[in-house]
Symmetry: C2
Subunit: 674 residues, 2 copies
């Protein structure tokens, strides 16, 4: 547990300064100002006291024990200071100083140096190049962010200091409260990995939110996140989803950027909710931290104005949520209790002159409807509207039900006090109704994720291939053999050097050469060959066309396969992501993959339900669903195991596998190595 | 011109009330409070004075002329009051009262009644069931919205009163200023149509923004909007884009909902920018009203922190914008003037300790780069940051260039005064950088739209078809003839009743029956028939399979077509939208249309450039681009003319047309009527 860092009994501030505006002054001032109650030891070689605290020449001259030291000295002397901390037996340091890996050059060396020192003395490092941390529940602001965020239950980890400052401001506006705010900077020591575990166990934390520019170890992150997300929602804003963004990330933190599609797949598998931007992040935090998850998609909207109801419905149509079909008895009850002009269809429009009691009646009625899984209450301030009283009753009702109830009290000044009441009573309120819908949708996602069994485990068998250094790929026949080892059905090829050896027609013929990657494009495939005459011509043509290039190509002969009946063609691929390891791709053959990029990805290994989810994820599922999806799922799982076992295979393409209503076979496969 | 309404020389308030909280009181109070300077005549049968104004028993007892009367009396007596207004020669009334079409039943009748009265007396009506209007430039708040919006150049029209109140609040927060705010309610008289013209000419209005729940006359709207958008941006938030939303619209305003895809197509054609929600609407208003349009996609980001730069780049990757490739000379100049740790790649990161002069240098340099079309300046408040001074210099620089410059001064309190400076100096600022990117992207869209030639004109020839009431569709051969009239290439069918009549092979055979809509699904199509023997079998099978159903079907014989060479199949369709008239559909054949809904739509008529735009809009353009797109565009234009001429044809499907690298022909077509 890292409580000794985030709830320290004593703090040293190394590089404390007497000059207002300097970090070494402002951090010490923050510690004092917000009321941290433990002993504080500023270290400064010249001053006697700073901000009323007695100063020390070095941590070594401090008598008592020190839980955590904040380091704000020039990068060049951080390592020396770190050694002193080690000698003083300080267990953790927060290195605020910049000038390390993010600078490149000497900075990289300096970072390696402090890492070694930390290991030698067994010191935990946060940073360098970070903002510090804040624990609102302990009145401790050990950072240079001005202000103290609201107390709450969101544990927030940020990789970027500059973003953290802006984010705390936004969080303040959006009324999100925090259990911890931790900035990790260059992550030389403690990273999102340990913090996932820590915040996962932290009793003050109900929701974990992270802003990450890189992920230190993708597979380890998945393993830990998969456990934490069973208990608490983990919401991550991963910057650098675009190629553009990735360029900026690289020059910003010097870390290798991973492929973003792999990140999406990984998050999905381990149950992490991905936020698109900061606005999303805090809107989600608000919903997840205050309300239970909806256990179905059916949402009921109660509003006192038509327009916002329409806007919310429009937003809802873009999500997995549905407008709940209200039960006849619900409608009857609403009709009885609402004025004639009201709409008892969902969205329930209780019209402009609704006072608090009409909201109460309508909400009580729809909450009771078993077909309603979640509720959005919209209020626009109008002449008769009782904002405060309505807020109080909405909150009370919300506390009596385990269905999530979100609100959108819209407009400016008029509804301000109502909004404050909602906030004090822990009811999430959104400025715009569609933000509430966005949040509800992600909460429903999280509910579905919780139903999943978690990550699949698989013990890799570390199998070897014969890597002939003259080539970059396996022979087709050898690749087929590997698939067959896993029980994947393959339409086997027979290698011939004479067309007379073909004993059954019709067949397809394809070139056997390890110098050719795309057989089709090189003129190396002929299909629908019905007799020996056609076979002779085909043989000649293949040999001629594939010999065209100046470069001499290996030619083992021609592979012959029986022609398969027409079915649906699918593609299964594998590549290795530098952060997440083997990634498996699924898609329908033909233009769907190439033009429309209608594919789904998963990190290997995975199990059958995950594979089914993968198949259902593509838009062309509408086509593939009539074929043997059981076989496809099975094949995907087996390929994921193969990818784990054969670490030397860097890339693989099964293209195509032909599937039928029942059964199917791999027609062609290539496996590359490096 | 409607200036006599929105800049009236005198106002009557019919139904003025002495009771605070009543609409008739609050509106009068608004007129007084914000300083309207013309004569005001409250009409109230009992009170002597209200709010210091002398009251009148009726408008007829007012001596002077009255430009506009606000009516706030019960719905049942509105018509009587309207007649008095007519007799008093009042030219316009704003009917605030509700209880008309939106109520259904008697309300509908009442609305018809007031329409008739208005026509009789030549009175312009705004409303009923509206909020009134506001003219900030004339200090006139003739509505029951509390508060006076900022003066500015956005002319805002809202169909929903309740939304207008909330929207004015949001607009206030987002610092948008208005030339006019007009709520139109049920649109019994003045609608978005007249207001498009009026605001298009209004010199105080630079940007027109509308919140619409329905569009009164789609084609008329397009005609007028196409003219206005050549001069001023028109941004429309059209609610009810989802089916859900449409349901709510219908029950809300009683107006028929149009198909939303047609709205999208129509807006695109007439150059209207569509906002997704209220947030979008005001973010767009801000950018469009303060900055010129970018004349290219290349955006440069200047930031003092990496994180926000990444987030902006991520957002940019989802748009049509590009991160500008900075010129080598630009990079050199930046390198010379910025600290070593800065990034001179786009996003240009001038790092955390940047003071105003570094912003100035960097911005001057990138503005000078001819490869940069627009600039986003990001500021996060850090220790050394000079928010105010930076704001002033950014604004000054912006005023010296015709490239749009948007800003995102992030964070809370710290940058507040900087933001205020930007606002006073007319520089659009966004809380989140991605909102600025969203806005820039739409501004670039608007630039592209301005390059287009405008709507196509076509004089419909009003041609007739022979509508045999026994059937619902034309004979295939007759439908083919219609296409041929327009010079559309068709692979003509020959009707036979005996296979012997086929003189050339291979052929396709299809049933000729007006009782069958889907020939293929009914077993009515056989292809690849190579000889008379196969033809005989096919003939028999078609007759047998299509006669299967119990219901007797017409059978004219069998249509025979030569088999066409393999090419790419496309689909061209037509349907009639209740609001916009004939809508033409384009898509690639096969699964693209059915499963992936990868289609584009346009309202007929349109010209060749619009048709090319339509072809490029589909994702499968990557496939179709290698075929004869000129022929496809030509066919689309001709079909759009056909749709205009043949008003009786309610639906048409060309499915498929086979196209080649050069040339192509329609293979099958069906035309339905009612």
């Amino acid at each position: 547990m890292l409580d000794f860092i985030f709830q320290p009994k004593s703090i040293a501030v190394i590089g404390a300064s007497t000059t207002k505006g300097k970090l070494g002054h402002d951090i010490l001032n923050n510690i004092k100002k917000f009321g941290y109650s433990g002993p504080v030891y500023p270290v400064n070689p010249k001053a006697r006291t700073i901000l009323g605290y007695k100063t020390y020449k070095s941590v070594k001259s401090v008598k008592g024990p020190i839980d955590v030291a904040l380091i704000i000295v020039p990068a060049s002397i951080v390592n020396a200071v770190l050694k002193e901390c080690g000698e003083k037996k300080i267990k953790a340091v927060v290195i605020i100083s910049a000038g390390f890996k993010e600078m490149g050059g000497d900075g990289v060396k300096r970072e390696e140096e402090i890492k070694r020192t930390a290991i030698k003395y067994g010191i935990k490092i946060i940073g360098p190049n970070c903002l510090g941390f804040i624990n609102p529940h302990k009145d401790l602001n050990a950072s240079f962010a001005s202000g103290m965020p609201n107390k709450g239950n969101v544990g927030f980890v940020s990789q970027s200091g500059a973003m953290a400052v802006a984010m705390l401001d936004w969080a303040y506006n959006s009324q999100v409260g925090f259990s911890k705010v931790i900035t990790v900077g260059n992550k030389a020591g403690i990273s999102e990995l340990e913090l996932l575990d820590y915040l996962g166990r932290d009793k003050d934390t109900k929701v974990i939110a992270m802003y990450l520019e890189s992920i230190i170890d993708g597979r380890e992150f998945m393993q830990r996140a998969a456990k934490v997300t069973r208990k608490k929602p983990v919401i991550v804003l991963k910057a650098g989803r675009s190629e553009y963004g990735q360029k900026a990330v690289s020059s910003h933190t010097g870390s290798l950027a991973g492929s973003d599609a792999a990140v999406d797949a990984a998050f999905r598998q381990c149950g992490v909710i991905r936020a698109g931007n900061v606005e999303d992040l805090f809107d989600l935090c608000k919903g997840f931290s205050m309300e239970p998850l909806p256990d179905g998609p059916n949402t009921c909207i109660v509003t006192n104005a038509g327009g916002p109801g329409i806007m919310a419905s429009d937003a809802l149509a873009d999500t997995n949520l549905k407008l709940a079909d209200l039960d006849e008895s619900t409608k009857k009850k609403l009709k009885k209790n609402l004025p004639e002009a009201a709409s008892v269809q969902n969205p329930v429009d209780i019209i402009g002159d609704a006072m608090f009691d009409r909201y109460k009646t309508a909400l009580e009625t729809v909450i009771d409807d078993p077909g309603v899984d979640s509720i959005l209450t919209i209020l626009t301030p109008q002449t008769m509207t009782e904002e405060d009283e309505t807020a109080r009753h909405v909150a009370k009702l919300s506390h009596t039900t385990n269905k999530p109830l979100l609100t959108s009290f819209m407009g400016g000044e008029d509804a301000n006090s109502g909004r404050q009441i909602l906030n004090h009573m822990d009811i999430p309120n959104y400025e715009y109704p569609w933000r509430a819908i966005y949040t509800l949708d992600k909460m429903y996602d999280a509910f579905l994720i919780k139903q999943k069994k978690g990550l699949a485990y698989y013990t890799a068998k570390h199998k070897k291939i014969n890597k002939d250094p003259k080539y970059f790929q396996l022979k087709t026949i050898d690749a087929e053999k590997i698939l067959l080892q896993y029980g994947i059905p393959v339409e086997k090829s027979k290698l011939i050097t004479d067309p007379k050896k073909i004993d059954e027609f019709p067949v397809a013929m394809k070139i056997a050469s390890r110098d050719i990657v795309h057989k089709m494009a090189s003129g190396g495939i002929k299909i629908n060959i019905h007799n020996i005459h056609q076979a002779r011509i085909a043989y000649k043509e293949i040999v001629r066309d594939t010999k065209k290039p100046a470069k001499k190509r290996e030619l083992d002969g021609i592979l012959v396969q029986p022609m398969m009946d027409k079915g649906e063609e699918i593609i299964i691929g594998m590549k290795r992501d530098p952060h997440f390891g083997p990634v498996i791709l699924f898609g329908l053959g033909g233009s769907f993959v190439e033009v429309l990029k209608d594919i789904s990805l998963r990190i290997a290994p995975f199990n059958r339900p995950e594979a089914m989810d993968m198949i259902k994820q593509v838009a062309s599922y509408e086509i593939i669903k009539d074929y043997d999806t059981k076989l496809i799922a099975d094949t995907l799982v087996k390929v994921s195991h193969m990818a784990m076992d054969y670490e030397d295979i860097t890339e693989m393409d099964i293209n195509p596998m032909i599937v039928y209503k029942k059964g199917g076979k791999v027609v062609d496969v290539r496996m590359l190595y490096k």
